[in-house]
Subunit: 204 residues, 2 copies
């Protein structure tokens, strides 16, 4: 069964839009979906000419992104209420999600985190919010949060970001299908086609 990797960042509205539909698009197809949490901060910091860790996009581009995400959400029928803090820190969520990948609850957890941030305007950087999400899923929140913040686990998330960069990933959402990177919610269908139809692939 072909695997498709879904690299997501909790701060990204486009990754939220992809998360909200990827299970439905993959369902019933011979594809194994791997949810892969990612942090864009360390990736953006290493861009050439990138003086500050959170370089502002041009104001016109920032305004456009919000409007475009709202239009895309409306077209897909996905609820979206722009967060009062944007971007929100995704660090704790990503650390917890990585454990969810080991233990089989990363999909529902990640969707709940996205909903908290992009529908309910809750502060996902706050441990209380993450704890409430875990509790809502019937998961042992205290032990998960304790494990998620251990130094070895933090290092594992950092190594995951390195793995993403080594694959050629520079933004989120990204999809990897048969070794090929696809970037952006609007490339999800293309990534699935690439995974499903080897005959349509062409060499570099």
């Amino acid at each position: 069964m072909t695997e498709i990797e879904f690299w997501f960042e909790f701060a990204s509205p486009y990754a939220y839009l992809a998360a909200a539909r990827i299970e439905r698009l993959v369902a019933g197809r011979p594809l194994r979906l791997a949810w892969r949490p990612l942090l864009l901060g360390p990736i953006f910091q290493r861009r050439p000419g990138h003086a500050s860790p959170f370089q502002e996009p041009a104001p016109a581009e920032a305004a456009y992104r919000r409007r475009d995400a709202e239009r895309c959400a409306a077209e897909a029928g996905t609820p979206l209420a722009w967060p009062s803090i944007y971007p929100r820190s995704s660090l704790l969520g990503a650390r917890v999600a990585l454990l969810g990948g080991d233990e089989g609850w990363i999909g529902p957890f990640s969707l709940a985190v996205y909903r908290a941030s992009f529908v309910e305007d809750r502060d996902i950087a706050d441990a209380g919010t993450v704890r409430a999400i875990l509790d809502g899923l019937g998961l042992p929140s205290e032990s998960i949060l304790a494990r998620a913040t251990q130094p070895a686990h933090k290092a594992r998330l950092a190594a995951t970001v390195e793995e993403a960069m080594a694959k050629g990933i520079f933004g989120a959402p990204s999809f990897v299908a048969a070794g090929e990177v696809f970037w952006g919610n609007d490339r999800l269908e293309g990534a699935i086609d690439w995974a499903l139809h080897p005959a349509r692939r062409f060499p570099r």
Copy 2:
């Protein structure tokens, strides 16, 4: 009749992909298509934190863009051979295209310039190439080139770039429909829908 503006930059492969299909998508619909030439150089120069006029994208992103454009071209059935010089200067082409907008030949001229650069690997920054394209369209190339390089006409192209920025445009291709900006070849269908269906529009 609703107007849809197509803002294009001759250096952009995604603008080429949009140019190659926009007339077909607009045909038979109650839309008036306005081809609007644009230079991205002066727009990028004014990005915040933009130290050099031609900041390099991250290497992974540059490699991705090429591969993604090639996949998009293959899927659309649009020929694309990556230019041996990239990006190519679009200044002369844009100056000439602006005259074509006044005189009704901007569409065929622009498609021929894109084809020269992205299919035939010809140097569209060279006046000889532009002259040959104009000649091929049966247009008076010498007088057009003379007019295109007059100071007042150069200033008009600069004013066009200001107009684009005032509309909120920051990249190419961009489409403007009913005052709304759509960015990217993959947003062309959305822009057309927006232009055609006022009832589906929602306020900011």
